[in-house]
């Protein structure tokens, strides 16, 4: 079928479909789905691509609940593909170019999202979700990382709020207060601790450029800085960036921070296991993916708290990572996929399910006041009530602005930053160098 006939076909079926869809499936979130669904009710097989097995589980269960719910329009079967996050986008674009075989829904990792901002890919393939989220728009915590030209193309899976994880037992043993107020104080304590016991209170990554810069970005956002502003201008060349990089470099030099290739790999596991690493600034998902997976035997010994502040200002939280879930537009299953996404991502039931399956934090502000979440106690973290920490964090979390040239910046920043962390370059120089390299390489 040629493109033109296919589009006309979809438009026609869309008209009919739109009419049939008038019966609202989810009262609360109702509203038109737009687009052109060919499948409007009954059995539907949704093709879902994600890099994350827990997301797969969540969607399978959510689809089952939605199919079983009285009055549900669709009877869902899920066909899931799990692959590397980069590979998924490569495949989606190739299939898109070929005109067939694209998924119905896809999870696009935040660092990969810039790829769909290029060359109009997002606009050509993905459904504009503005009307879908309209009823809860003001309740959404994060939309900027998955927006293109002000339109939303992906729903956040996890708010990824960063907290400070720490070993309560080791802190007690070494007389480290659990409520140190500022990073600067903690750095001093960390330096002394390292001299005494060889332990560290945090990590910096020295592996590939993405890992290196991620740790920096996390602290930079907390400090109130950032890579880009809302209109896409580079804002890296700032005193905050220099300050944060300087803080990290000094931390590595003093032993307060431990240099490791990445926060998931074997070396990190080893450092956790042998008690060399007893604290780390990490996003919410680190509890499940980092700690529980790698050091299950340390159950009960870890706690978390909000981040110490930088003396110079900033937030008490940060964020790192995330995955935007998108629906492909103009496909027969677009409407069904949209319903499933809404159920899983915009309702309390869905968000709770996600939280249970993978520790994903709610993406709706209101749920941070919800008693089911507030009452949740985490066994691994010694029965700690997580939302005592997450709720304030959610209210003071920085915004990350996405940019099509994010990858160029990461490549430009990685090298100089690594040299700085190794003590071979001054922070200010490194930032200058990265900015210059970015400007010369970004093209267009």
């Amino acid at each position: 079928m040629s493109d033109v006939t296919r589009r006309t076909f979809l438009r026609r079926t869309g008209l009919i479909g739109g009419g049939l869809l008038a019966a609202p499936v989810l009262g609360a979130c109702g509203g038109g789905t737009g687009g052109g669904p060919a499948v409007t009710s009954g059995a539907v097989t949704i093709n879902l691509w994600t890099h994350d097995p827990n997301i797969t589980k969540t969607f399978i269960q959510s689809a089952k609940q939605l199919s079983d719910a009285p009055g549900g329009a669709f009877d869902y079967t899920l066909k899931t593909t799990q692959a590397d996050s980069e590979a998924l986008v490569t495949k989606m674009v190739s299939q898109g170019a070929a005109g067939t075989g694209t998924p119905d829904m896809i999870g696009i990792v935040i660092s990969v999202f810039p790829r769909v901002m290029a060359g109009g890919i997002g606009k050509q393939l993905l459904l504009d979700l503005d009307s879908v989220v309209a009823p809860v728009k003001d309740d959404l915590l994060r939309t900027s990382p998955y927006s293109i030209d002000g339109k939303l193309y992906g729903l956040e899976t996890d708010t990824c709020l960063s907290v400070l994880y720490y070993r309560e037992d080791e802190f007690k043993k070494n007389d480290i207060p659990e409520d140190v107020g500022t990073w600067e104080e903690l750095a001093e304590i960390g330096a002394r601790l390292h001299k005494k016991t060889g332990q560290s209170l945090g990590i910096v990554a020295t592996g590939d450029n993405t890992s290196i810069t991620n740790m920096f970005l996390q602290l930079l956002l907390q400090r109130g800085g950032g890579y880009f502003d809302q209109s896409g201008n580079l804002t890296l060349d700032s005193p905050e960036a220099v300050e944060v990089l300087d803080f990290m470099a000094k931390g590595v030099a003093s032993g307060f921070l431990l240099a490791l290739p990445d926060p998931y790999g074997a070396p990190n596991t080893a450092a956790l296991k042998n008690g060399k690493l007893i604290a780390a600034v990490m996003p919410s998902w680190y509890n499940v993916y980092g700690l529980q997976t790698n050091v299950p035997e340390q159950k009960g010994k870890w706690r978390m708290r909000n981040l110490p502040k930088f003396a110079g200002g900033g937030h008490i939280a940060s964020a790192l990572g995330g995955t935007g879930f998108a629906v492909l537009k103009d496909k027969p299953n677009t409407a069904a996929a949209t319903e499933l996404l809404k159920r899983t991502y915009l309702t309390k039931e869905g968000q709770f399910l996600r939280f249970q399956h993978g520790g994903y934090l709610p993406t709706l502000k209101s749920l941070y006041q919800d008693k089911d979440f507030l009452g949740y106690e985490d066994e691994y973290l010694g029965g700690q009530r997580l939302f005592d920490i997450y709720t304030p964090a959610s209210q003071d979390s920085p915004v990350f602005y996405q940019n099509p040239n994010l990858n160029v910046l990461i490549e430009a920043l990685g090298g100089p930053m690594l040299e700085t962390l190794q003590g071979k370059k001054k922070p200010a120089e490194a930032i200058k160098e990265a900015v210059a390299a970015y400007n010369s390489k970004k093209g267009n």
Partner: protein, 293 residues
């Protein structure tokens, strides 16, 4: 009915046609499309936008591309100057008279090539780790010190990639030299011995000249192969730290599949093809590999 002579004249065409059919379809046509794409701006969807030679002019002003070319040349240089001689040396040792277990050794050295590069690269990532890797552990065990930041220090990272190349390919190349050595007529050595030539002298005056065709084959294979190096740097370091290990093939991959600049990547591919082609041709002309009579 065709005459015998006619049939014999047509036979070679019939024999090469299945190959060339597949070859044209699955290589030449895509190359043509790639050549066209190099003159366009294309993110992978929609209609490519014709930009003429813009991609090429941009390419030659792109510091990353130049870095990638320099790195790749270093890899090629390393393979030719280190991997090839190492293979020759090992072959020489394997060829020692009266050596027992030659087949065992030959077999063992070949194993790295048999395994998937993915698996090897994943293993080496673990070995190269500064704190917990096998290499530093071994250094600490033997020398009491092992603080090399294999993948984090730009020059060490380059070397780490090279060492992986050495590990993966030396055994493979060894078997070519070994076959070459076995093929040297015994009389030549006997003649040299009668002339009273020493071992070193014999090596340079008998062995090396006789190995020239093998060496040429190995050298060209290695040059062309290393010039396309992708998996090693991609899986070990993703081209980092910074761009210290970025190769041309990786540059192409990165532009195409992490930045969606397929036209630009295609242009880089064309340039790479030209460079590799020229290297290969020059080497062939000098060394005489695969040449027709």
């Amino acid at each position: 009915m065709l005459s015998v002579a006619r049939r014999r004249a047509l036979a070679p065409y019939a024999f090469i046609s299945p190959f060339y059919l597949l070859y044209a379809l699955f290589l030449i046509v895509p190359i043509g499309i790639g050549g066209y794409l190099s003159l366009t701006e294309w993110a992978g969807l929609g209609t490519p936008l014709w930009v003429g030679l813009d991609n090429y002019t941009r390419l030659f002003g792109d510091a990353s591309f130049l870095t990638a070319i320099v790195n790749t040349l270093l890899y090629v240089l390393f393979s030719v100057c280190v991997v090839v001689p190492a293979a020759l040396l090992i072959a020489q040792a394997l060829n020692a008279r009266g050596l027992r277990g030659r087949d065992f050794f030959r077999l063992t050295f070949f194993i790295p090539v048999v395994l998937s590069p993915i698996i090897i690269a994943l293993l080496f990532t673990l070995f190269y780790d500064r704190e917990y890797g096998l290499f530093n552990a071994a250094l600490r065990g033997f020398f009491g010190w092992g603080g090399i930041d294999w993948l984090g220090e730009p020059s060490w990272a380059k070397l780490s990639v090279m060492l992986l190349v050495l590990w993966r390919w030396t055994g493979y190349l060894t078997i070519f030299f070994l076959a070459g050595l076995k093929n040297i007529p015994r009389e030549l050595y006997e003649a040299a011995a009668i002339d009273g030539a020493g071992r070193v002298h014999t090596f340079f005056n008998v062995t090396l000249p006789m190995l020239k065709p093998v060496t040429a084959f190995v050298a060209v294979t290695v040059m062309v192969g290393t010039a396309q190096i992708l998996e090693e740097p991609m899986l070990l370091t993703k081209g980092g730290p910074g761009e210290a290990t970025l190769s041309v093939a990786m540059f192409i991959y990165r532009e195409a599949f992490t930045r969606q600049q397929l036209g630009y990547a295609a242009a880089a591919g064309v340039v790479m093809f030209v460079i590799v082609f020229l290297i290969g041709r020059t080497a062939n002309a000098v060394l005489g590999v695969g040449r027709e009579k």
